[in-house]
Amino acid sequence: MSLVVNLVLLVFLLVMALAVLKTRHLFAMAMLFGLYSLLVAGLFVVLDAPDVAFTEAAVGTGISTVLMLVTLASIKDGHELVSTQKSRTAPLIICIIMGGLLIYGTHDIAELGDPQSAPHMQVAARYIEKGQEETGVPNLVTAVLASYRGFDTLGEVTVVLTAGIGVLMLLGSRKKLRIKEVSNGK
């Protein structure tokens, strides 16, 4: 049953991705992009990952979409130009090759939900077995996130800080920065 729900959502998702690709109206694209994230969040719930779903809903549909809208409002330019110069065959060929490679790779991947597959049998088995006992936290995602792989999470917080610093460096000054029109020295 969950497989069917999963597939239906994936097909919706594919349609949404194509819609983002096709639309020329950028505000509409921002909305479609938010919907795309919401659908992904729904898929995460089906895949037993409420923590990830929670985050995706808050970040993808919330922060990312809001930032996209604010950017659009700031540049006051709601339409994508019909570009004729840029070649589209080369990207298409690259994407088909990459996609083909990935499908080649998934040939011997374990089926969705196979409890005997390597990701479940190796490292993760211990988290499920001993996670609560060793950390005192029943939510294993929190246990792994904060303790077993706490260093990753420290890195993640640092990434957030870095992004904050970067954006402040770019947009922090109230006045528009003076920028030289021509390359230096000319």
């Binding site: 011997d108 077993y148 792989r149 990434v159 460096m169």
Partner: protein, 496 residues
Amino acid sequence: MEQLTILLIVIPLMVAPITALIPSEKVTWLLTLIVCLISLAISCYILYEVIDGSHVIYELGGWRPPWGIEYKIDSLNAFVALIVSAMGCLSCLFAYRSVPDEIEEKMIPLFYAAFQLCLLGLLGIALTGDIFNLFVFLEISSLATYALISMGKNRKALTAAFSYLILGTIGATFFLIGVGFLFAASGSLNTADIASRFDSFKDMQLVETALIFMVMGIALKAAIFPLHSWLPNAYSQAPSTVGIFLSATATKVSIYVLLRILYDLYPVDYWVNMLLPQIMLSLGCVAVIYGSYRAWQQTEMKRLLAFSSIAQIGYIVIGFSLVSQLGLTAAILHLFNHALIKSTLFIGAGILLYRANTTELGSLRGLGRDMPWTFAAITLAGLSLIGVPGTVGFVTKWYLLEAAVEKGMWIVVITIVLGSVLAIGYVWKIVENLYFRSKRKVHIQDVPSGDSAIARTPKTMSAALWIGAILCIFFGLNTELSFEAASSAATALLKQ
């Protein structure tokens, strides 16, 4: 001893957030310098400890691998960490006068914080033994890099940063796909754990695809030949300090990751028959010729140096695609040597930019006569780039030639020689314009910015330049020190 290794990460991590809050350019600079110096001291000590082939193991959070994240530091890790922190010190020394000149005053604390975060990210990549953790630190350093590049004076810096952001993220995501495929096959993320159980899943197509995607992703970040398009603009448009630091470290660390994937994560005999060495070798050769030729065409010094970097990365690729102890040693040694040469040359370019407010070679004519000492140091580093005996450049090219001859690859030998000839061409172009062309009417005293302070090269900048130039000669004459480290690193890689 063990606790020292993690301090390499913890110190920049704790200092960077504080730096971002201090509204003083002097204090933040001093903090950055201290962080770099401490990192340098610690990485020297660690290298000294592990150079005999031993390991330092550090389990983060006290969890045993593969459940927790582990640092397993051998001489290669320590060597790369040493390169990163040494170049951090050098560019920080240069930054003292250059950053206030190029960056808006209000942004300086943030600039130094981002610089430290970039250092932190690169050190994290160099030390970790967990492939997902590597991705996280890769992104820390990348995000900091994008922000730093965009601080360049010219508006082109913005587009350079944006295209680097797009390509860098594609590279990182490809790497992430590779990690995911490998995880699907092995169920683990710990390098040593995957390597030790490799035989049980080596026949899966998943593992093959994982290798391809990881190599592609990292090759994009390392600017290996057809994937180099972001590099020239990023390096030449970035503020001088950033250009120095990145040209010396960013691609080097990515190449280090490539070495880890190819020699550590995957056994050598897995990919040696997959056409991969041949492909890499030919890409390396093309990169040497293409990079040198494009460098020769350039009329702007920083862009010239950036294209020369593409060629130099080609030498490194040739070195490790030969799959021999000697070739690998040459490649690892060149990581260090090239970092030294390129940072010295970029410091030179930075000084010229500071004094003459331009790096267009045509506008720099005759400037070498007014600044003989700067000119002398640039020439020394330029000679190293060509590979004149007695300089570091010669050492690596010699070992590289030896390795190629050992394998009977005459095309590679010809490529290296041809690359050196082209290098003479583009280095001569700099020297000729700086010294032998008659001076233009514009004197340095009446440069557009016209500041009287600019009439002298600041001592910190000269010091950074000369430290770099002297080290180019020092390690060219005393090869044992760097050679021992590189060959110990190569042995550590081939053993597994």
